[in-house]
Structures are given as structure tokens and as C-alpha cells.
């Protein structure tokens, strides 16, 4: 056991930090969310208006920096650390899917038995049974479809995942308030594709871990901006952050986030075991609701405006919460694997 980052891990975090300072942050997230192609045209503007809402530059920088493959070059723990950092910086690209899900498809390029080779990103990930918006789908080159999630039942997740190549423009972007670019993926478009070696249930484990890592970084920033704001904001001749009623609620949020963080790291280090992955997703995404509610409530009216950065992170928390069956589904998955599995 060792809860400190190793030198190599710290080097990775420092490197991604430099890159995120340059390519991410709340300002950029707000700009990407709001400004369309005509303003502040960047290199991708020729790909159409909605293209700008995805951070291609960040995506590319992370890929070129080798971060997408870090689960292979180092381990999934480092991939989780970087995922958390990207989320914390408000990065608007599908890094988590690349680094924690796609990297663990069992499609190891060095493995002679593996025929798939690397998958070109961005990759969006969706459940076959659903038909709503999917994060990053309007910009994705590939859609990873997981069938038969059945919410919780691990026994129902047999069968393999499918990969569908997406032609540009086939997926309609959809307007959403929840902080990520999204595309509408009707059920019919979730059919077909080629089967991967990895079975659904395993991918769901990694997906859960990825959600938790994203939620952790996102929650941390939401709390940070709130604490920072309330340490300045004065009413009644006092700093609002000095009221104990406020302090306790922020401290409770901290306890939840801190637990999400270490559960995420441990789960990543252990390779996303079934029960552990369900546990960390259930915990982190339940915490996400609380962190959302408390940070907004305690920020007052300013928290709802674009002039204050809170929304960059807060709104995303709810998007993460809706994926993959939601908190209730994750919790039930724990029960299934711990108390209802064949081993018992």
C-alpha cells in the first residue's frame, strides 16, 4: 500500500497538467459550449458548426502525448489519474472512454491473437437498449455499443460489445444543458457493427470506473470554485464561508469526494473488478448529486450564471449520473456481484 504518487506517476500528472493548462480550463469549456464556428474560428471550423463544441485540439494533444494509451504503457491507475485531471480541468473531449474503456478492450496491438488494432477516436459509448443522447456521439468516429446491460444483473451481460464506425454527420448533435457535446443516437443506429473480443460485462466494469474518475475530477473542481468563492463572499459583515452551517456542508462534500477519489484509484489499480467498479460508480455518482446541490445552493444566484465557472463542472455531474443505469443500477450491481453471484 502506498497512497502517494510515485515519481513516474507524478511526472505523468505534471506532463498532463502542462497540456491542460494550455488546452483546457473553464474559460475554454465555456467558449466551446457557447461559441459556434463563425466566432473565434479554429482549425476545425470547416467541419461544421457543431464541431466546435468538441475540443479536438485537446483530444489531439492528449493522443499525441501518449495519454490515450497510458493504460497499456503504464497501467489503468495512471489512466484514471489522468482522466480525473482532464475532468478537473473541464476538458471537453472523450478522453475517459479512450483511456479507460477503449484501452481495455483487450485489443492489445502487441497481442498476436488480437485482430482489432487500435480504434480511431473520438469514441462514444452507448447502451444498445437506450435511444437518447450520447456524450460525444456527434463528433465520434466510432460508437462502442454495449448490449444487454439489464441495469444490474451481471449474468445478463454475456456476449460481446460491438463497434460501429460512424460517418461524419450521421449522428445529429443535440442541444443539451449538461456540459458535454452530445449526439442523438436512435436505437436503430445502435445495431450492427463488428463484434469485439471483449465481453459486455467487462466493458461495463471499465465504463463504471471511467465515470467515477470523471465524476471525481469534476466534483473536485465544483467544490474548489465554491470554497474559493465563499471564502471571499461577504454578507452580514462576515465571510459566508465562516458560517458553520455552510462549513459543515462543504466538509461533508469533501468527505464524499475524497472517498470517490481513493475508491477510483484502488479500483483502477486492481483492474476494475466487477464489485469494485460498481462500488466506485455508485459512490461517486451519488456523491455527485450532493455536490451539485450543495455547491449551487451555497453559491446563491451567481452560481447559475455564465459569469461564474461553477456550471462548467456542476452540470456535467448530472450527465454522468444518467449513464449506464444510474446510481440505483450501480448499487444493484454491487448486490448482484457481492451477494448474489455464483460464488456464494
Amino acid at each position: 500500500m502506498d497512497f502517494d504518487t510515485s515519481e513516474e506517476q507524478q511526472a505523468v500528472l505534471d506532463a498532463v497538467g502542462v497540456l491542460l493548462d494550455r488546452h483546457a480550463g473553464p474559460k475554454r469549456a465555456i467558449q466551446l459550449a457557447r461559441e459556434l464556428a463563425n466566432e473565434d474560428a479554429n482549425e476545425d471550423s470547416n467541419e461544421g458548426a457543431h464541431e466546435d463544441t468538441y475540443d479536438h485540439a485537446l483530444d489531439r494533444a492528449l493522443a499525441e502525448g501518449g495519454f490515450n494509451d497510458i493504460a497499456r504503457s503504464m497501467s489503468s491507475l495512471e489512466a484514471a489519474l489522468v482522466t480525473e485531471a482532464v475532468a478537473k480541468a473541464g476538458g471537453r473531449c472523450a478522453f475517459a472512454t479512450a483511456a479507460l474503456v477503449a484501452a481495455n478492450l483487450g485489443d492489445d496491438p502487441n497481442d498476436p491473437h488480437d485482430s482489432h488494432g487500435p480504434i480511431e477516436g473520438p469514441i462514444a459509448i452507448a447502451l444498445r437498449s437506450e435511444d437518447g443522447p450520447v456524450r460525444f456521439a456527434a463528433h465520434a468516429k466510432h460508437l462502442l455499443v454495449i448490449s444487454n446491460a439489464g441495469n444490474a444483473n451481471s449474468a445478463g451481460n454475456n456476449g460481446n460489445a460491438h463497434l460501429i464506425a460512424l460517418e461524419p454527420g450521421v449522428i445529429e448533435p443535440v442541444s443539451s444543458n449538461f456540459g458535454y457535446p452530445m449526439g442523438l443516437v436512435p436505437n436503430a443506429m445502435r445495431r450492427g457493427g463488428r463484434a469485439l473480443t471483449q465481453e459486455n460485462a467487462r466493458i461495463i466494469d471499465w465504463w463504471r470506473l471511467a465515470l467515477a474518475a470523471e465524476a471525481t475530477g469534476t466534483m473536485q473542481s465544483a467544490l474548489d470554485v465554491t470554497v474559493e468563492y465563499l471564502s471571499r463572499r461577504r454578507q452580514f459583515g462576515r465571510t459566508i464561508g465562516s458560517f458553520q452551517a455552510v462549513q459543515h456542508r462543504l466538509a461533508e462534500c469533501f468527505v464524499q469526494i475524497e472517498a470517490a477519489r481513493w475508491l477510483t484509484y484502488e479500483c483502477a489499480a486492481q483492474g476494475a473488478p466487477r464489485e469494485g467498479a460498481a462500488t466506485v460508480a455508485a459512490h461517486a455518482l451519488a456523491a455527485a448529486a450532493r455536490v451539485f446541490t450543495e455547491t449551487h445552493q451555497l453559491s446563491g444566484a451567481i452560481g447559475f450564471t455564465h459569469e461564474h465557472d461553477l456550471h462548467v463542472w456542476s452540470m456535467r455531474l448530472h450527465a454522468l449520473r444518467t449513464e449506464l443505469g444510474g446510481v440505483a443500477g450501480h448499487r444493484r450491481a454491487i448486490a448482484h456481484s457481492r451477494w448474489m453471484g455464483p460464488q456464494r
Binding site: M1, D2, F3, D4, T5, S6, Q9, L77, L81, A152, V227, L230, S231, R238, T239, G241, S242, Q244, V246, Q247, H248, L250, A251, E252, F254, V255, Q256, E258, A259, A260, W262, L263, Y265, E266, A269, Q270, G276, A278, T279, V280, A282, H283, A286, A328, H330, R331, R332, A333, I334, A335, H336, R338, W339, M340
Partner: protein, 381 residues
């Protein structure tokens, strides 16, 4: 960063678990129901701790100079988890080995060491902790119990309250004011007081938690020799602070909660309710809290293993630990339904054991205050 137990630690846990399976009597569940302070468990602890001591497992974390094995803080954590998850068969003696002994090693005279350490490491003595007073709970430094110097003696007057195990204890680790008129942290000393000293009287405080759980301890001109004082006179606060360092994470409540939860799942399975998704959801939720508290405690153990000074991460771990303990206690009531109502039922016993979490050993609100100021650095008034 890495999250693997070493092979040694794993083996230690396995051996310990096997030992417990073999050693705990068939009626252990029944026996342990009323908590570590019950007559039955206090008695049992004397037998059990002796057997642990024979194996070197009562004080493995003590230095070899004092008969320990220099086990790491991680192994100490394994020990605590295994014990606590079985309802603490060491009874009140967990206090002796966790912090009373180590504090005596640090501050004790040779005489004190010779008197107390073997008794503790051989499992033949019970202690109680005389900290809280009617007017000094969360605000411990408001304590007023006085120990006035009279020649070679101290004469103690005052009242301690909530003192667990006082009825069984041979000694009390007592905090008293040795400097009259002193305020707050100053002027306090630690006294190691034999409980058979004339002038000490006990009153049991009946409670919903369990029989003989709480006591009031009255000191009326109780006279003890000055050689009972641990550490320098009037510098007792430093001694206590040091002592509490050993108790950084406190009892691994999450370990007991996790075990209770497994049993609740068994109960639900046997009663056909485990297939109910709402039950699954609740069990799963509680499980996330156990795991959260476990990792937050490990973070503190990691710091301790590295010899770092105590940090507010301790408070974080404590909040999570008490939260899960109470949540599982309440879930037991819910899952067991009316079966929870009978005195001594599984759910009843668990609930009562869990309900004091959040108040005992530093109330949750105090932990939150410390997190707010030390970690979030929120401003003071």
C-alpha cells in the same frame, strides 16, 4: 501509489481469521451482543487476550523491546479490522494495546513500565479512560476534576462521566487539573489511577445502548501517590495528544459494518427478500459507504506508516466511519422488520451498537469543523 497488501500482510490476515474461527466460542454472537463493555465480554477478554498474547498477536505492533514484534501500522490495521469485524473479542483491552501501553512506553517511568506493560501485553488487566466530564464533552479542555498535590500524594476530587468499562477496570487513565485555577490546555496532568483507590465511587447510568454501558465516576478525596503521574506535571495535554495519535483512525467501524452487511444479505436471502431490487439497492448503497470509509482510513494508516504527523485526514476518515456504522445499523432495522424489535435480536444489537457512533470519541460535528478549517481552509468567524 499502489493498493496491494504485501504477502506477509495477507498471510497475517488469513492466520488471524483462522485463529478467530477456531477460538471464538460457538455462542460468541450471543456473548458479544452487548458490546465490549458487557460483563460477559470483559470476562471473555481475559481468556481471549491471553491466548492472543501467546501467539504474539495481542501487541504485535509494539516494539520488540516491550515484547512486541515491530509489526507495521498496516498489520496493526489488519488486526483491528479482524477484531472489530468480529465484535471486538478483546473487549475493553483494545484500548490498552492501542494507545495506553504505547503512551506509557513514551512517557512512563521505569517503575510504571514495569508495572503496567507486562500486564497489558499479557492480557490480564482492564483499563478505562477518564476524560469526559459533565461540563467537558466535546470541549474536553473545560475539564475540572482536580488533583491537588499533598506531599507525595495527589488528592483527587471531581466527576468523570460516560466512562466505559469503569465497572471492570483495574486502572483509569485519568485527566485531571493539577494546577488550581489553570485554564484550558494548561495545568492538566495524566494520572494512572488504581480503581480500587478509596474515595472512588461508581454509578451506572442506565441507557438505551446497553447494560452497564455508561458510568459516572466520582472522586472524593481519592488519594494516589505522585508516582501515578504519567509524564511531567501540568503537561498532561501533550501526553494526551500523543496518546490520541495512536488512535488516529479509531476503531475500524467500517469493518464491523461490512460484516453486518454481509449478514443482512444472508438474512435477506433466507427470507426471500434479496431478490427485491429495492433491497439490493439499499444493501449496495451501504456497501459503498463501507468501502469509502475503508479507503479513507487506509489513507491515514499510510501516513502513519510513513511516520508523518497526524493530519485532518483523520477527521475525514472518522466522519465516513461513523456515517457507515449508523447507516448499516438503521438498515438492519429496516431489513429485519419486526424481527428487529426483540431485545437482543441481531438487528437490535447492531443498531444499539451503532447508534453512539458520531458522538463517542469526538462527535461528527467537531470532525467537520476541523475538516472545514484545516483542509478547506474556510475562514474563521
Amino acid at each position: 501509489m499502489q493498493f496491494e497488501w504485501t504477502a506477509d500482510d495477507k498471510r497475517f490476515r488469513e492466520e488471524l481469521a483462522r485463529f478467530l474461527d477456531e477460538t471464538l466460542p460457538a455462542d460468541w454472537d450471543e456473548l458479544s451482543k452487548e458490546g465490549p463493555g458487557s460483563d460477559a465480554q470483559a470476562e471473555f477478554s481475559k481468556v481471549f487476550c491471553r491466548r492472543l498474547a501467546e501467539r504474539g498477536w495481542l501487541t504485535p505492533h509494539w516494539p520488540s523491546a516491550y515484547g512486541g514484534r515491530d509489526a507495521t501500522p498496516w498489520q496493526h490495521a489488519v488486526l483491528s479490522e479482524e477484531m472489530w469485524s468480529r465484535g471486538e473479542p478483546r473487549g475493553p483491552q483494545y484500548m490498552n494495546v492501542n494507545w495506553i501501553g504505547p503512551t506509557i512506553m513514551e512517557f512512563g517511568s521505569d517503575e510504571q513500565k514495569a508495572l503496567h506493560l507486562p500486564a497489558i501485553s499479557e492480557g490480564r488487566v482492564l483499563w478505562c479512560q477518564g476524560f469526559s466530564e459533565p461540563e467537558a464533552g466535546s470541549d474536553l479542555v473545560a475539564l475540572r476534576t482536580a488533583a491537588e498535590r499533598d506531599g507525595d500524594d495527589y488528592v483527587i476530587n471531581g466527576t468523570k462521566i460516560w466512562t466505559s468499562y469503569a465497572n471492570h477496570a483495574d486502572y483509569c487513565f485519568l485527566l485531571a487539573r493539577t494546577e488550581p485555577e489553570s485554564k484550558r490546555h494548561k495545568g492538566i496532568s495524566v494520572l494512572l489511577v488504581p480503581m480500587n483507590t478509596p474515595g472512588i465511587e461508581l454509578r451506572e447510568i442506565p441507557s438505551v445502548v446497553g447494560h452497564r454501558y455508561f458510568h459516572e465516576v466520582f472522586f472524593t478525596d481519592a488519594r494516589v501517590p505522585a508516582s501515578c503521574r504519567l509524564g511531567p506535571e501540568n503537561e498532561g495535554w501533550a501526553v494526551v495528544s500523543h496518546a490520541l495519535q495512536y488512535e488516529r483512525v479509531g476503531a475500524p467501524r467500517y469493518a464491523r459494518a461490512a460484516r453486518t452487511l454481509d449478514r443482512l444479505a444472508d438474512y435477506a436471502r433466507e427470507n426471500g427478500t434479496l431478490d427485491d431490487p429495492t433491497i439490493q439497492e439499499k444493501l449496495g448503497h451501504a456497501r459503498t459507504m463501507c468501502e469509502a470509509a475503508r479507503l479513507l482510513s487506509y489513507k491515514v494508516i499510510d501516513q502513519r506508516a510513513k511516520g508523518l504527523p497526524p493530519s485532518a485526514d483523520t477527521n475525514v476518515a472518522r466522519v465516513a466511519g461513523t456515517t457507515v456504522d449508523r447507516a448499516v445499523g438503521e438498515l438492519a432495522l429496516e431489513i429485519c422488520g419486526e424481527n428487529a424489535l426483540a431485545d437482543g435480536s441481531f438487528a437490535d444489537a447492531n443498531f444499539r451498537m451503532s447508534m453512539t457512533a458520531g458522538v463517542a470519541v469526538g462527535a461528527t460535528e467537531i470532525q467537520l469543523n476541523l475538516i472545514a478549517s484545516r483542509i478547506l481552509r474556510l475562514p474563521k468567524e
